[in-house]
Symmetry: D2
Subunit: 353 residues, 4 copies
């Protein structure tokens, strides 16, 4: 249960950043889906380190290899095993930190919980794990190809795009390094990230995600609400501190008469403050939500800290890290969204006779 | 899986607002816990309708009856069944809405998903379900009695308490009807709710929750992160639109050098922007988070809408509803927090030899 | 997880034999099934104590009350809660056994595992729990009404019916008290049980179950094989010591050339030693299996034993118990079979696109 | 859920016999266990093809490679990924069977269920999968090293060992090719298998397994009874047709006065017809059970059959197969027993405060 996500469509993962490989098993994927392997690798490449000047300069090919469950290009209904080999582990970068607890990392909590940890590059705590999620999500997208899922960087630090998503052209998301389809704002964001990197610092940001053409009826209404599973998924991503959907926190300031979404005759609604979900179930309108990422904890500045003996010491900023995690997190947000939707899509087949 | 919450400590529920009874089964509760039934009923009374002038005036005693799993006042390790009878169902209040879809309610999505629904008082979609959660949460609190959990109303509409939680006296939460321990702000909130009710309107708000004295090590680091499960729990509550913990959305504007929590020699941290969680695992600092509630969808004003035949019609505001759901949601937030923490507390026993 | 059975269609139960009530929650039952309540009660009546002279003479009406999930006679897709009140608990019968461990009962293991137990009538260990299973199974039968499920008593002690099931008329199962459709053998079985009861003793037996008209494709091939789930279900019934399907233990003496089921052109097989399952998946042939029940441990004879203090003592045979549990177990076997098949039927909807 | 086994300690697997590799993820394995890799490989070698003259002569090294979760020889609490590469796939052996349904194999049911299948060597249906189980079981054994688990061949065809297990010397199990510690009987069994192989035929058999030094309290009493989980595990092994524990089917012929296990003063019992389990919970006595294996379906004789077009055809006996699967299944039975016991061992930590 610890390393699994989903109910019918279930992803289970393994892997440390500096082990032999990471990977996973996708269980419950239906038979008969023609798999586009290139599209999966393409999603991985969007997440990959070293892809642009504003992300970490580590070079990792992140090549996924499928080991089972796909035969002659089509899923067989068997579990789908895959691995991504770790090829560029510079464990030496981390040797100076063997027993030092990096501030706002998970070194301390892992040590206390498990009594041991693989300290190399964060081990199991590394965001490298999210490459597994991208593989599974890219496959899930092919199962629910009628649904379109678009995430983008909606803020970096205090620089926000103010354009409503409905006025953005999602095809422009991939045209700039920060993955913001609002091109003028994208430039400012990139500038900001470059400044931050020069400071040896990092910065937070937000991602907005929009899922469209969702059939009515996805989501289970009590403890597996569509938005609750999306929220859990997003809060599983490293560095995420908040999730809101539809009107979100702004909705908490509103009156009922302002917030209610009035129906059109066809069941669609004139407004969509609900964010496409009523009572935990999709209503056919766009599902949209926003995810807050804190700044990456690893900074290129020296910081006071302690080690596992409880001695006060200093940690030096070394290694190759992202000044802002948000651009690389865009495909991760999409991948998890696809996993959640595909899971509910399958589950929904069992809810009526 | 649909109506269950938790892993080791698992709550499964049933019940419609106007059926015979609601109830649930608490599975995995360990043997040997002395049960304080009065404390459980007390929590239910905090959630109950009709408890003050600013909540719905429906009168329901909400008396929990335990049917199993407790023998001579002590849990036996067997599953704990309980029911809460529905005694004050005025189904007639809802007869005029049999086939009308109430705006921003789940009538439409239930009908489309299931092809049928119990329309009386929202049926299974009613927030009456949360009484079940309060029972289970109150029991969970007794399992992890060393942890203190305090939720309170932190905003109503645009009225916020600006006092940091560490300066608030939680013993004052129950001294006013809105459940805000910042007494001056509480008065303004109450005033605001009264105005809103006079308008026949409703208003949103936020709840802040703080869990203290949490042992280091709760939470599973990949897909069952402590904060992700808390987020999922909160997003399961009717009307919730957002969840943030620690620095939350504000953290997304910060730099790494500002956001990092520097260690003290004892492993505690000088700041706590992390919200007591590192890598999904509790670090012993306070876990705190904030939950956004939209305004209740049922307003005492007429609204245009459609019915199940797709005819445009008008819905009239009738029935007895809350002008602001937030005060009654405080014990619900605490209950779910207790369930999540107790589940992880049990799970953690299995993580080392 | 402890008190739940099933994956998509999940039954969770509670209740002690001498508590207020037993009951359960059926989750994942699809919407739109018209419920025949009388048929459910009828199944309960088949399991009920006091129904004939060869079963326990306790009188319990075992009236099921549904609390949710069924509206205007049709399932709504919401969880289905139900209770069966305990009306005829003679706890006094058990007072003399408060701290005495009955041989081959679960008193000792419960005490050691949980440090406490509800000693009245076996508490949670009582076979009264199986009434919950019968309710859920009877409902499941209505979901998969195209499949016919027939169990019957195939042996009592050393008295066996030698007639192949295909030559038996299942409509005769209910015409005699022992539930064996082979009428001549049934008479001998009844005679045997009466003798055993006079001795103050008990006796074991076996039940054979046949499920027919099963669609090809039910069962998941690795860890949720159709026959493995059936086996687990049967081994969950109190007093069961063995399970075999198809050729069973006799098959272990055979050669491959004898055991292989040769195909007909339509995909059916000329023989069915496989018991309707190939690789864990139903092949459309009859699924049949046999279940072994040990003799009931409670006998009307005095036995030496120990108490919770470790003192050697004697237990006296008192109370109202079954001389042979097999006749009353027939509807239980059918109920669990229905639950397993209905679960796989729903699951199977998700296995192809 | 389809390819997973266990609750707390959960194994999820993947792999086809003629794909790139098979493998799995072991989740929930506690931190701090020193791993003996050689012991794991040794168990795999016991299951490996080609190990003796009476098993299949395929040569596969079956080398397990661990990819995560073990750091510096100790488990970290992270999920443990592993792979076993397929090195000796002679897919050509199977090309003649591409669309032919082998009698009493799963070709037909897979095709009907999934609409497609990997026909090479049985694909996912191959018993090669059990190598994954042996890896996980060997690791589980190291977690519960205080419990000893010994399985052995108790019959081949109609040749049985009649010696009670308590009089057998388990250290002799590995001294002969058939894995029967009763040496004289072992010789006869080996002779019988050699004859059968010469005939181009196969033969069934049974395995008995004994687990000793089990603590009191393992097992959950309603739907996760210790013996029910063991039964499910055994019935998951390819070719298994039956499971009995303790007195088993013989117990169904007995009287209560004969069957009851009378207590000694220390809580142990004078007899152990219960098979070490009371009410689903271990009582500290030996847990023992017996598993029936049908003869392998692949025989070296021509058989009539049909193909996927429904044409009647003939299948020719080719390939390298086991004349009797039982000797190689001995380590598989032990492995699954270890997984079940280890899972309950961990779960039991959560059942009391």
């Amino acid at each position: 249960m610890f390393n699994s996500f989903g109910n019918i469509l279930k992803l289970t993962t393994f892997g440390e950043s500096h082990g032999v490989a990471i990977g996973g098993i996708i269980d419950g994927f239906p038979a008969g889906v023609k798999v586009n392997l290139e599209a999966i690798q393409n999603e991985l490449d969007r997440r990959r380190p070293g892809q642009s000047k504003i992300v970490t300069q580590r070079k990792e090919p992140d090549q996924v290899e499928f080991l089972s469950g796909i035969f002659e290009g089509v899923t067989t209904g068997a579990s789908i095993g895959f691995v991504i080999k770790n090829t560029n582990q510079k464990s030496k970068d981390y040797n100076h930190n063997t027993n030092v607890y990096r501030p706002s990392h998970a070194d301390y909590t892992y040590d206390k919980k498990y009594g041991t940890r693989d300290h190399r590059g964060g081990g199991r705590t590394s965001a490298r794990e999210t490459a597994n999620w991208v593989v599974a999500g890219a496959l899930a997208k092919q199962l629910i190809s009628h649904i379109s899922i678009n995430a983008f960087t909606s803020s970096v630090g205090t620089i926000y795009t103010e354009t409503p998503y409905s006025e953005l052209d999602f095809s422009k998301t991939e045209t700039n390094d920060v993955r913001c389809p609002d091109e003028k704002v994208a430039e400012k964001m990139i500038e900001r990230i470059k400044e931050i990197r020069k400071e040896g610092n990092t910065i937070g940001g937000t991602i907005t995600c929009v899922a469209q053409n969702i059939p009515v009826g996805l989501g289970e209404p009590i403890f597996h609400k569509l938005h609750a599973e999306l929220g859990k998924a997003m809060l599983s991503i490293n560095a995420v501190k908040g999730f809101e959907f539809g009107s979100g926190f702004a909705g908490a300031e509103m009156k009922g008469s302002e917030h209610n979404d009035i129906f059109n005759a066809d069941g669609s609604t004139k407004t969509n403050l609900s964010g496409g979900v009523q009572g935990g179930i999709s209503n056919g309108m766009d599902v949209y939500f926003r995810v807050a990422f804190k700044p990456v904890a690893t900074i290129m500045q020296n910081q006071p800290t302690i080690n596992s003996e409880g001695d006060v010491t200093e940690i030096q900023g070394k290694g190759r890290h992202d000044p802002c995690v948000v651009p690389r997190a865009v495909p991760i947000v999409e991948a998890l969204t696809a996993l959640v939707l595909a899971d509910f899509y399958l589950l929904n087949k069992t809810r009526t006779i």
